[in-house]
């Protein structure tokens, strides 16, 4: 058997092209793009209708067509927001969250058409446009999410290489323990260098630091450079110790890099939700304001 985890040479099996219960089929391709077609058809119909129906004096949210679009949009938004409840309420029954996600994605995208046509392209500095802007932010963050969900899982899996997050952290702790033991014979100055390497963990730095893929220079890298220099000088009675420290430090370096990559990919898979979800709530609030004020005008 070939080396595990390695990317296969030649054409990779695209399991998602298959239908039926025994094959993997992702949420984007669910039921041969059923919801994509549905959303596409809805959007196309609405665009054609918008162009054909001549609303006087001009297309407006307050016309009969505008109200129809608005009502449909609001119902859709509320239903889309219910995905959060559906996901967490593990009730019995013949439902599948994959189907919900698929519908959520494509119908959510069709909101771009529904919502924008509803505005009649009358945008301005008011609460109504605020609702439209918030909606667009939610949809764009969702698009980011779809991109992340399509591109990142494979990388997460490859980086993990069968180890769990807990095991990765355990490995780090274990190397730290060995570094600590190995550094005992060192004098205070060198011991402090090792200590700085031990103190470096995968969680340091803020959110941007975590999500960026830039290599970080920390205590471990510095200590590694230091002891690598010393062991290649090769004139100290402590040379074997330096070799061992060098080996341990480079192991720590590699382990740290893997945990950081893991946390970064996990972070990217989640970070958009911190926009998507709160802005959805803001959108619901703005929508309420929009609807109430519209009825006030009426």
């Amino acid at each position: 058997m070939a080396t595990r985890g390695a990317e296969p040479t030649g054409g990779e099996i695209d399991r998602t092209t298959l239908k039926g219960g025994v094959q993997h089929e992702g949420f984007l391709r669910y039921r041969r793009l059923y919801w994509a077609k549905m959303a596409g058809a809805i959007s196309a119909t609405l665009i054609v209708a918008y162009l054909l129906i001549d609303i006087k004096p001009r297309p407006n949210g307050g016309s009969w067509f505008g109200y129809t679009l608005g009502t449909a949009g609001v119902l859709l938004i509320v239903w889309l927001a219910f995905l959060g409840v559906r996901k967490r309420a593990m009730t019995p029954g013949r439902w599948s969250l994959k189907a919900w996600t698929s519908a959520h994605v494509y119908l959510g995208l069709s909101l771009i058409v529904i919502g924008t046509l509803h505005t009649g392209f009358q945008l301005g500095w008011n609460v109504h446009t605020l609702a439209w802007v918030l909606m667009m932010i939610v949809i764009l963050s969702g698009l980011f999410g779809i991109t992340a969900y399509t591109t990142l899982p494979g990388k997460l899996s490859t980086n993990r290489d069968e180890t769990t997050e807990a095991q990765m952290l355990e490995t780090l702790a274990d190397i730290n323990r060995q570094l600590f033991d190995a550094a005992q014979p060192l004098e205070a100055g060198s011991a402090a260098v090792v200590q700085r390497a031990i103190d470096e963990n995968a969680f340091s730095g803020g959110i941007w630091r975590r999500l960026s893929s830039r290599q970080q220079i920390g205590g471990t890298a510095e200590a590694l450079a230091e002891f690598r220099a010393r062991s290649s000088a090769g004139d100290s009675p402590l040379d074997t110790l330096y070799d061992r420290l060098e080996a341990l430090l480079s192991r720590k370096q590699a382990a740290l890099a893997r945990v950081r990559r893991h946390l970064r990919i996990k972070g990217l898979l989640q970070v958009w939700l911190y926009i998507h979800v709160p802005v959805t709530f803001a959108l619901l609030a703005a929508l309420s304001a929009h609807i109430i004020s519209v009825f006030f005008y009426w």
Binding site: M1, A2, R4, G5, P8, T9, G10, G11, E12, I13, D14, R15, T16, T17, L18, G21, V22, Q23, H24, E25, G26, F27, Y30, V85, K87, R88, A89, M90, P92, G93, R94, W95, S96, L97, K98, W100, T101, A148, Y149, L152, P153, G154, L156, S157, T158, R160, D161, E162, T164, E165, D174, R177, Q178, D181, K266, L269
Partner: protein
């Protein structure tokens, strides 16, 4: 030396203690011999505060000792107190080495040299056995111990641990865990590898070795124990090292040898066999009685009842009805015939052939596990494709087997005295045909565990079941109006062959015409293309292979090897060929089966030149899955890591569907080419977890799922036996506040499994831990929660033969 005792009881566990209590109460002269310095060592060795269960609930306790479910300390305390107040004559530290003499005059030799005389002996020594001891000069020195209770009590000592099993490694790690204790720990291993221990333990040990916390000496045996030193034979010669204490963990010898040396016969050579016993628990050696786990009853209540009963029997009370009488009465209630319990037992024993050789006592125990059912003429007993692994014996009446799904009138009869359902028993697969009652029928339904026990205890029953099942499997597989008469010649050549995992039964390019029928386990078919084996198909139990070279002549076109340990029926090709000539229908059918296989062969041949990455990939993915136990799975959770975003909603959904505890670990487990097999139950054909469950709480359910019922006593055997690590021992947390109150007010831990602190804070300290595992969401509408709750479609549950089919490969080619 004192006069002979009327009864000597060996072993002070629940059975022995209860027997001694009864003897004391009746005023019989008795002695209770216990090899350790405390009563009931097995329960004494439970961890502190462990909750001891009292199953089966419906069984009434009949003993002078009290027993109820509760903490280890309470149970032991009650017994100590009652043993004293009843005036039980206990002799502690009395290790019996030999029993000689005959009924009325037994000599019981103790390790110290003392001999005790008794008229009757009750063996209640359980099945744990004695630890193997050191047999080198100085092997009896006082600083050698065979157990380690608390590794923290030793400081600044040079300690040698002997033994390469888990016990030895765990002890060594425990002693070296805290550097502050200042122990110098050395572990000795006779061989170069630690092959008998769990991987995790070996890894920890090697790590400790690298760090210098433990000295590991492989290929080393002790040759002499001195005071303060030990002489060792190493690969490089003898050496002497300092040694203050020796902890020898070299396994234990099962007690069978000792019991046989006493003159007691066992029912068979099988490892699972129990001693042959009369209804009064008397063994083949007159005057020696066997009760408790050694007699095949591992549960405390059974043991205690037997202790009471056996003393009553010895005391001449032959009319005593066993305590399980009401249970049996309940079983036989409502059946036509209105017989007494004893009559029913005799009726079934005499009528069902495979039960003929059971003793009345075995029959009684056997019926406690089994059920008797009455079916009116025409009623369905089970349907084709129903899951089920129990065996049926016909006590009265007749049943008919439906041979064809299309035409239900096509049937074959099975007569009174015979058995059916054996295919499910052997292969663990679904039922092969529908069986209905041909007339009013009484059947005994024997659960798989009881049937296996029966086969181990009664060799004749084993032979009968094997023969019938072989013949039926052939009949069922080739169908087409074949009768058992047609098979006579073929059956003569049929031979059951055990195949180890990975071993080939057919090699590509070889001559040979034998046909193989897979009885249990599964096989994979491979073909060499270039230098690489290409996975062609997966054959579950119940299929046959090898017909191609018989029909077409020529050499074998592919290699067939066992995916897991399997059993096949080997049928001589010539004999089968003759049968084919006589039965054109059968020949047609074989040709049809073969053409499907040829298609696959041709497909691979055609692709050979443009041998694509796809075929290669499919082949290696299939091999990976088989390596990971998919070969013995009936249903397995697979995650496509191209789709898995790591949200763990599968785990959360699992927890929320099952008392707040998740039965799967998404992240753990093996991965190949982004196909991940998470740590979750595979619902094996022959579940390893079922092998040793004292209350028999693990079953296969209606949808093929393997589940643990509420009679679980929390012993942890199943967890240890599962090779895939999918069983957890946990306390059941209380119900969580509702989802909405969490969503809006932040009350409770939210969806998914609560963290340990929350569970600890919300359950009582003495809540017993129970074994939990995936039950495939049986009884939950919509099916497995993990799959339903996956937002991206990464999780699916599949049967291996569907996932590993070549049709898949062809679709993927398109």
């Amino acid at each position: 030396m004192a006069d002979a005792y009327r009864i000597a009881i060996i072993g002070s566990g629940p059975a022995g203690l209860s027997a001694a209590g009864r003897a004391a109460e009746l005023g019989l002269s008795h002695v209770l011999l216990e090899k350790t310095d405390h009563l009931s060592d097995t329960i004494y060795k439970y961890q502190k505060g462990k909750h001891v269960m009292a199953t089966p609930n419906q069984l009434i306790l009949r003993s002078d000792m009290d027993f109820d479910a509760g903490k280890r300390e309470v149970v032991l305390g009650t017994w100590d107190e009652q043993a004293a107040s009843l005036g039980v004559n206990v002799k502690l530290n009395a290790d019996v080495t030999e029993i000689t003499g005959d009924a009325g005059n037994f000599q019981i030799k103790l390790a110290g040299g003392e001999t005790i005389q008794a008229e009757n002996v009750i063996l209640a020594i359980g099945t744990q056995g004695n630890p193997n001891t050191m047999r080198v000069p100085g092997g009896d020195k006082p600083h050698i111990q065979y157990q380690l209770d608390d590794p923290t009590e030793y400081v600044d000592e040079h300690i040698i641990v002997i033994g390469s099993g888990d016990a030895g490694i765990e002890n060594a790690l425990g002693l070296a865990a805290d550097a502050e204790q200042g122990n110098v720990v050395t572990i000795l291993n006779r061989s170069a590898e630690f092959a008998r221990a769990k991987d995790a333990n070996v890894k920890l040990l090697q790590q400790a070795g690298e760090q210098g916390r433990i000295n590991i000496m492989t290929e080393t045996t002790p040759s002499e124990v001195l005071d303060k030193q030990i002489m060792l034979d190493t690969r490089d010669g003898q050496t002497k090292i300092r040694c203050d204490r020796i902890i020898a963990r070299m396994g234990s010898a099962p007690p069978r040898k000792f019991v046989e040396a006493c003159g007691v016969e066992f029912a068979s050579e099988e490892r699972e066999a129990f001693p042959k016993l009369s209804p009064a628990f008397e063994s083949t050696k007159k005057g020696i009685f066997v009760i408790g786990a050694l007699a095949g009853y591992p549960l405390i209540k059974h043991c205690m009842n037997q202790g009471y009963d056996v003393v009553e029997f010895i005391n001449g009370n032959t009319d005593l009805k066993p305590a399980d009488e009401p249970l049996l009465e309940e079983k036989f209630r409502g059946l036509p015939g209105g017989r007494s319990v004893a009559d029913w037992l005799e009726f079934l024993r005499a009528r069902v052939t495979i039960l003929n050789e059971l003793s009345p006592l075995q029959m009684r125990e056997f019926m406690l596990d089994s059920e008797v059912q009455f079916f009116r003429r025409g009623a369905t007993i089970f349907e084709k494709n129903e899951p089920g692994s129990s065996l049926f014996g016909i006590a009265e009446g007749k049943v008919s087997v439906q041979l064809s799904e299309a035409d239900p009138s096509l049937t074959a009869p099975i007569d009174q005295g015979s058995i059916f359902g054996e295919v499910g028993l052997v292969s663990g697969r679904r039922r092969g045909s529908t069986i209905t009652a041909a007339e009013d029928t009484i059947v005994v339904e024997i659960p798989r565990m009881a049937a296996l026990k029966l086969m181990a205890t009664v060799p004749a029953a084993k032979r009968a079941i094997t023969n019938i099942s072989t013949e039926r499997q052939l009949l069922q597989m080739f169908g087409s109006g074949l009768t058992s008469e047609d098979l006579v010649e073929v059956m003569k050549t049929a031979e059951i062959v055990n195949v180890k995992a990975g071993e080939a039964i057919i090699n590509e390019g070889e001559e040979g015409t034998d046909i193989f029928v897979i009885r249990s386990g599964s096989m994979v078919v491979e073909k060499m293309v270039g230098r690489k084996p290409v996975f062609l198909s997966y054959l579950p139990a119940g299929s046959y292979v090898g017909e191609m070279s018989l029909l077409d002549g020529g050499r074998r076109t592919a290699t067939v090897r066992a995916a897991i340990k399997s059993e096949v029926i080997k049928v001589d090709g010539a004999a089968f060929g003759t049968l084919l000539e006589r039965k054109p229908q059968l020949l047609d059918r074989a040709r049809r089966d073969m053409s499907a296989r040829e298609d696959v062969n041709n497909f691979v041949e055609a692709k050979k030149d443009s041998f694509s990455g796809v075929v290669d990939m499919y082949s290696s993915v299939a091999s990976f899955l088989v390596e990971n136990g998919i070969g013995e799975a009936t249903d397995v959770l697979l995650i496509d890591e191209h789709l898995c975003v790591g949200c763990d909603n599968c785990e959360k959904a699992c927890a929320d569907s099952h008392d707040g505890l998740s039965r799967l670990n998404r992240e753990a487990g093996r991965t190949y080419a982004h196909l991940h097999v998470p740590t979750s139950c595979r619902h094996c054909e022959h579940p390893h977890c079922m092998a040793d469950c004292p209350p028999n709480a693990i079953h296969r359910g209606d949808d093929g799922e393997v589940f643990i019922d509420e009679t679980c006593i929390g012993c942890g055997n199943c967890q240890r036996n599962c090779p895939y690590g999918v069983i957890r021992m946990e306390k059941t947390p209380p119900k969580k506040p509702s989802l909405l109150s969490w969503l809006f007010f932040g009350i409770g831990p939210g969806p998914g499994e609560p963290d340990h602190d929350w569970i600890d804070a919300n359950v009582a300290d003495d809540t017993p831990k129970k074994a939990i595992k995936c039950d495939m969401c049986a009884g939950i509408e919509g099916g497995p929660a993990c799959v339903r709750a996956c937002p991206t479609g990464a999780a699916i549950r599949v049967a291996p033969e569907e996932f590993l089919s070549v049709s898949r490969l062809e679709t993927e080619q398109l």
